[in-house]
């Protein structure tokens, strides 16, 4: 039935959106892609996504939103391989804890370093982001190349979407994940991640990504995202 085919409502430039997009691609699910501007607060948009958030998946007449909730939904609605969460309850909790860590202890600082306009605030965000990344790396299991070791999971997608555009943070703020011992695993990991077909499909050209982040870096973006990021929160 047509309604069994999901629709993804997302913005081309959104790393949160890429999380849902990549998840669908990884699963080989057929879906309709709808380019969306979530800042266009039209009544039609609220009918699709009741809180106005993107990404949003419409499937069988229902809406699922919040990028992390989308990833879990995709894994459960299409339980084929690759599983985005493993079988064992503790391993599942582990993936969730570290996806949550990415959302609370890394992403806000990625936005923070771009959105803050003073050097002091930017440097603090950069250090906080590195601390969060260091903790994530330390939590990675042995056997590589993924967060859980041999198996790809939602924990890789959670950070790997933002990780694939760190060149943008370097461009505007000189942010670099160092090459020293503590961070070596990060570089191996992100190289493997971005080489996946799904990442290659969603990642826009470098120039477009840089242009998209420019208003935030220059302090002229008026979006909710910019406001939230200034307060240290991200939607």
């Amino acid at each position: 039935m047509a309604s069994d085919k999901p629709s993804l409502y997302t913005a081309w430039h959104s790393p949160f959106g890429w999380r849902a997009w990549i998840s669908l691609l990884e699963k080989g699910v057929e879906f309709d892609y709808h380019e969306t501007d979530p800042y266009e607060k039209s009544p039609e948009w609220f009918k699709i996504s009741p809180r106005g958030l993107a990404p949003c998946i419409r499937h069988k007449g229902k809406s699922v939103y919040e990028s992390t909730i989308c990833m879990e939904y995709i894994d459960e609605a299409w339980p084929c391989t690759p599983r985005l969460l493993p079988e064992d309850p503790y391993d599942r909790a582990y993936v969730r804890m570290w996806a949550d860590h990415v959302n609370k202890k890394i992403i806000p600082h990625i936005f923070g370093m771009i959105v803050h306009q003073t050097a002091t605030e930017q440097e603090k965000s950069k250090q906080d982001a590195l601390d969060g990344i260091a903790a994530y790396i330390e939590a990675m299991r042995d056997g590589g190349p993924y967060f859980l070791g041999q198996n790809f999971s939602m924990a890789d997608i959670a950070l790997g979407t933002f990780g694939s555009i760190f060149f943008c943070m370097e461009h505007y703020r000189g942010f670099k994940v160092p090459n020293e011992a503590k961070f070596v695993k990060f570089h191996d990991w992100i190289q493997t991640i971005v080489a996946r077909k799904s990442w290659q499909t969603v990642l826009p050209p470098r120039e477009q990504v840089l242009e998209d982040w420019r208003p935030y870096a220059e302090g002229v973006a008026q979006t909710e995202l910019a406001k939230a990021a200034k307060q240290g929160k991200t939607p």
């Binding site: 809180r51 069988k60 919040e66 909730i69 879990e72 939904y73 503790y90 909790a93 969730r96 949550d100």
Partner: protein, 225 residues
Amino acid sequence: MADSKPQAYISWFCPFAQRAWLALLEKGIDFEYKEVNPYDESERVKYLKINPLGLVPAIVHQGHVVYESAICIEYIDEQWPETPVLPNDPYRRAYERIWSDHISKKIVPQYYAMLLKQSHEDRETARKALLEQLVVLTDAMDKEGPYFRGSAFGMVDMMLAPFVARFPVLKHYRGFQVPTEDRYARFNRWWAAVKERKSMEKSTPEDERLVDVYKGYAAGNPTMS
């Protein structure tokens, strides 16, 4: 199936810890209750060895630590599958997670804002937002109820109940009450059923003790003595 007894690290006053505690009680799991006071420096240092984040709740089981209240609930539900707190269907599970997220992002911060903010104006803003977001949540509830998804007490109920159980603190310090008018009828019906549950009676401290333990917060100081 679990082959050893889990330990639940809980602070008796903490609403986040109560969320996990409710899940354990509702599922009838045999667990070891471990009281933690994360505001006491020496206890905190010892506890950091168990949970490096130092927060409650934490579930320690088979040599592993699980933290973050929502993640604890899901772990408990998956490790001990009898009497599920989440439904089976993927969309209904996503719906529980969406509304749990709403509670954490839109309701809980207003509860703390009402206590911690020192200006009357800020507290009023928080009060209005708290009531508004409660209605947004109850509009998403099953019409019959009494619980969030109907006749089964589940995750969304557990994510909200501990904070509503602490509304007497807001009443004492801020004169806050959820009105009885129609707009709040679904909320009041939900709460009337929730507060009668054995798990709630067992895990909710008396109003007087809560009012006392939150006096620091009410003075704008987020600590407990």
